[in-house]
Structures are given as structure tokens and as C-alpha cells.
């Protein structure tokens, strides 16, 4: 068994998010709204060696099977992530994340005068993906364009 696989124990049922860019693991948890509040067992491994000079983050969520709707929002912060569904200790399904047409919550609108930043209203940010190549997002409310190319990449790593 490879080193990375020894770091966290095997799970019988659940979801393994692998190949998260180094340093983005906690943001992935935030984007998925996983804060341990539901009592489920979640293990997070940061800076797991991967290949010769690279590192990655891994998250294992027990007894939860994440659907596309949940994991596709990771496309911007962890574009290389794989989503592995584990059933009875075996890999039952492997998916890549793919960019959805809209992204809720993850990004704050950069416009301080946007209603989503008002603080008084019960409102979540919603960004429409208007350019998939350069990753341009547009606030559904105020129309401000958010350039997030680069946000998903880990800090420039050697090799």
C-alpha cells in the first residue's frame, strides 16, 4: 500500500475526495458545509506527499455519499480533485469535478455595496459562471464580474 493510503484508515462506506490542491483542504470543507456539526466522522489529511515533489490534501467523509451537486462546486477551488465513492471498503465510483453553471456561497462578491454583503439580509452569494476558460464569475445580484482564475491553484510549488 502506498504511503498516502496509510495516513488515514480505510472506511467502509463514504466519500473520499482526493487530489485536492495542497492548502485547499479546509476551503473544500467550508464549501461543502462540513463542520462536524452533524456528528459524522470526517478525516482531513493536509500536505500528503503525492509524487516526487508534490503534495495534496485528502478528505474522507464516512457514511455520506456526496452527489454531483455538492462536489461540482469544488471545480473552482480544487479543479483536479477526484471524488471516490466507497461502498463496503471498495471503490464503487470515481468522478472528476466539473464546473457547474452557477456556484453558491463559496465566493463573496467583491463589490462592498452589493446586497449580498449587506450583513442585515438573509442572503447567500450566487455566482453565474460566464466564462469557463478564464473562470470568470458574475454576481447574480449586482452583476459584478469576479475573476477567480488562479484562486483554485495551489501556491506555485516547485516541480
Amino acid at each position: 500500500m502506498r504511503e498516502s493510503e496509510l495516513i488515514v484508515r480505510r472506511i467502509s462506506e463514504g466519500t473520499v475526495i482526493d487530489h485536492i490542491d495542497e492548502g485547499m483542504g479546509l476551503r473544500v470543507l467550508g464549501a461543502l458545509g462540513i463542520d462536524g456539526g452533524d456528528g459524522g466522522l470526517t478525516t482531513v489529511a493536509l500536505n500528503v506527499p503525492s509524487g516526487k515533489f508534490k503534495k495534496k490534501d485528502i478528505i474522507k467523509i464516512e457514511d455520506r455519499f456526496l452527489a454531483d451537486d455538492d462536489t461540482n462546486k469544488l471545480a473552482v477551488i480544487a479543479p483536479r480533485a477526484t471524488v471516490n465513492i466507497i461502498r463496503n471498503y471498495k471503490l464503487a465510483e470515481k468522478r472528476r469535478v466539473s464546473l457547474p453553471n452557477e456556484i453558491e456561497r463559496i465566493f463573496r462578491c467583491s463589490n462592498p455595496d452589493c446586497i449580498t454583503n449587506s450583513g442585515r439580509e438573509h442572503i447567500e452569494s450566487v455566482m453565474d459562471v460566464i466564462d469557463r476558460e478564464v473562470l470568470a464569475l458574475k454576481c447574480r445580484y449586482c452583476g459584478r464580474i469576479l475573476d477567480v482564475s488562479g484562486i483554485g491553484r495551489a501556491p506555485a510549488a516547485a516541480g
Binding site: C109, I115, E121, C142
Partner: protein, 311 residues
């Protein structure tokens, strides 16, 4: 008549109005204007418009109220937020929900960008944006284009000059977006510090041919429409700078003399010193007529939103 696409719909952004939609409103405005008063009073008889103004307004609110009254409907609402529970910290969402219980359609003015779209999500009734943040004032843009169409007979082919505060004036952004549906030439002139925000016109650039400079002087003779906006004192760091800049954007008789025959001057109002009152009686000055059209255009919009059969 084809189905009325405005029925029950929100009017949040001028982006939601394509050329076809704009023409539908213009057509309805023409019909409403031509109606005998008694017939016009049947259009929205017994219906109620709710208004909610978090910022001061004279014309937008009054013209909506007058429009609703001319259709036989009534208006109720809040024009001074300090006198409502919003001053106690009630959210916009709850205030909108409440008003939408008592009214058939809502008009909202609010300082934050995106406020109208949010209001539309929580409101049980159609919401019309009466000015939100710094970028949207869709009914003003419809009014401006309708005025050009009425007073110049067409919109396509016009050369439009826009001067003044282009950075903070939300009417300008909505106007440019709306003009993007037509084949027009636009010249913008403003002090360097009040230039149009490039990130806000990012998508307009593809659809609209416009130039930018600090002076309109050498272009005045080409214009069919000179659209003047107010230079707001609060936008300047000091009084001296304001006085220096302000003077160069005042339209007086000298400018008027250099305009071509048949050219017109518009202004969204309120005006301060940027158009000299001696122009008011001239043939070129059409800004009060513009304000009058504002009422008819809003009546048309209300009629379309409230009545499936349109008007």
C-alpha cells in the same frame, strides 16, 4: 396582439429588456397616451402599487404614483424610511414581503447594488427597480429612449453625447445598456475623476460604439441628442476641485448655438447648475417633456405587468 411578456414579471435590470421588450413598452406608452382619460382610468382600476424608497426621490416616485392614478389605481408605501420599522433594523426582505401582501406590484429604490433582484426573490408580487445602487435605473432608461424616439422620430442612426458625472450616475449605465440594443453612436465626456467605470461597461463595449474624452466641445456639432447629467458635489474631495470641474460641464447658450439643427437636450433631473435656466424656453430643451414621458412610460409598464391582455 401577441402575448404580453411583461405580465406578472419583475423589471429589475435594463439587461432584461431586449429591443423587442423595449419596443413593446414604447408601443404600450403610445397607446396609453392616446387613450381618453376615462378609458385610461379603467386600465388598473382597483389595483394597488406599493412603493418603498430607501433613498430620496422626486420624479421617480411621483411619476409612478401619478401613472398609477392615471390608470385608476392607487398607491401606498414608504417614502421616508426613517418613519418605518426599517429604521428599527427590520430587514429589506421582511419589509418587501409585508408590502407585497398589501399591493399588486412593488417599486423599490435602494442604495445597494442587487437590492431589487433580491427583493424580487422574496416578494410575492412583481418588483420594479426604481433605482438600485450605482448601476441600475431601468425605468429611467426606458423613459430616455422613449423621449428620443418621440422627439427625434427614431433611435437608430442617432449620435448621442452624454456629459457630466458618468462614474456615479446610475442612469448613465442603464442608458448605455439600453442604447446597446440600437444602432447609435455615443460620445461620453466627463472629468477624468468621473469617467465611466470600465468594469461596469465591460459587456456594453461589445454592443455599443462609444468614445470617451474630457470635453464634448469638438463633438457638439455632430450630436442629435445631448444628454446632460448632474455633477454631484459630494463626490469631490474638496470644494475647490468641485468648482473648477463643475464650470466646464455647464451647458449654456454658447453650446446651444453650436448644436446642429433639430438637436435636443435631455437631462434625467434633478438639475443644479449644469443646464442654465435660460435654456429652458428654447426649442432644444426637452427635459421637462422627458419627465412627462416618464409618467406615461411607467403607466405603460404598470399596465403590462398588471394586465395579462396588456394595453
Amino acid at each position: 396582439m401577441a402575448a404580453n411578456s411583461f405580465f406578472g414579471r419583475d423589471v429589475i435590470s435594463v439587461r432584461d429588456l431586449d429591443r423587442r421588450g423595449l419596443e413593446d413598452v414604447f408601443g404600450a406608452a403610445e397607446r396609453v397616451m392616446a387613450m381618453p382619460a376615462a378609458e385610461r382610468r379603467e386600465v388598473a382600476r382597483g389595483r394597488t402599487l406599493g412603493y418603498l424608497f430607501y433613498e430620496p426621490s422626486t420624479r421617480t416616485r411621483l411619476s409612478f404614483q401619478a401613472a398609477m392614478a392615471s390608470l385608476g389605481g392607487s398607491s401606498l408605501g414608504i417614502s421616508d424610511v426613517a418613519s418605518s420599522s426599517a429604521s428599527k433594523g427590520e430587514s429589506l426582505a421582511d419589509t418587501v414581503r409585508t408590502l407585497s401582501i398589501y399591493a399588486d406590484a412593488l417599486v423599490l429604490r435602494h442604495p445597494l447594488d442587487g437590492s431589487s433582484r433580491f427583493a424580487a426573490e422574496v416578494s410575492g408580487k412583481p418588483v420594479i427597480n426604481g433605482g438600485s445602487g450605482t448601476e441600475e435605473h431601468p425605468t429611467q432608461a426606458v423613459q430616455d429612449l422613449f423621449t428620443m424616439r418621440r422627439e427625434k422620430g427614431r433611435i437608430d442612426g442617432l449620435t448621442v453625447g452624454i456629459i457630466g458625472d458618468l462614474k456615479y450616475g446610475r442612469t448613465v449605465y442603464s442608458l448605455l445598456r439600453a442604447l446597446g440594443n440600437y444602432d447609435v453612436k455615443v460620445h461620453l465626456a466627463s472629468p477624468e475623476s468621473l469617467r465611466i467605470r470600465s468594469d461596469s461597461v465591460y459587456d456594453i463595449r461589445k454592443r455599443l460604439d462609444f468614445t470617451e474624452s474630457e470635453q464634448m466641445d469638438d463633438r457638439v456639432g455632430e450630436l442629435d441628442v445631448l444628454y446632460v447629467t448632474r455633477i454631484q458635489k459630494e463626490r469631490f474631495p474638496d470644494e475647490e476641485e468641485y468648482i473648477r470641474v463643475k464650470g466646464s460641464y455647464v451647458v449654456g447658450l454658447d453650446v446651444l448655438r453650436r448644436m446642429k439643427k433639430g438637436a435636443i437636450i435631455l437631462h434625467p433631473l434633478p438639475r443644479l447648475d449644469e443646464i442654465s435656466p435660460e435654456l429652458d424656453g428654447t426649442e432644444q430643451a426637452r427635459y421637462f417633456r422627458q419627465a412627462e414621458y416618464g409618467m406615461h412610460v411607467r403607466a405603460a409598464l404598470l399596465a403590462l405587468i398588471l394586465r395579462e391582455e396588456g394595453v
